[in-house]
Symmetry: C2
Subunit: 99 residues, 2 copies
């Protein structure tokens, strides 16, 4: 499977409510309909199988690096990041790689 993958994990700040976390997931899940470069888009809340994990994962696939960059810089994506994600984030870890 060729393509380009973006993986980001978030740990939410102390006191972040379930409602706030659900809003992040809801706003992100609107993006595939708005950003055609997204080939697959998987969101996940930590199942707490292991201690010390992060809270939330996004795994997004694109046809190529340019598709990811279009997503990264897309105004609708930027809005979700700035309006609902950045205010809640304690830690963020990300990798983008060629599939």
């Amino acid at each position: 499977m060729s393509g380009f993958r973006h993986v980001v994990l978030f740990r939410w700040a102390e006191g972040t409510t379930t409602l706030q976390q659900e809003e992040v997931a809801a706003r992100l899940s609107e993006l595939p309909a708005k950003i055609p470069q997204i080939r697959s888009y998987s969101l996940g809340v930590n199942a707490k199988v292991n201690p010390g994990g992060y809270d939330f994962a996004v795994v997004a696939d694109f046809d190529d690096r340019e598709g990811y960059l279009a997503y990264r810089d897309h105004p609708d994506h930027r809005a979700v990041v700035e309006e609902v994600i950045t205010p809640l984030v304690a830690d963020r870890a990300a990798v983008q790689y060629e599939l």
Copy 2:
């Protein structure tokens, strides 16, 4: 798509060589042949599209939570973690979630 996903990102310690990083990828890539519960297994070196990213990603899918746990606790997986990954890790971020 139902199933259970394990996502882990690593940032390697200062001074970790490319050879050491390649050994991690090589040892991990042997696991699907040894652990039948692995349904899909994607390894990726950060393409350095953005500053400050982690270095390496593993995205592994299983039919269910039990499949992931079998992988997590499998002696061949434990050996790779203990012998080649743990000695090199500066930071680790992980989430497991229901697909």
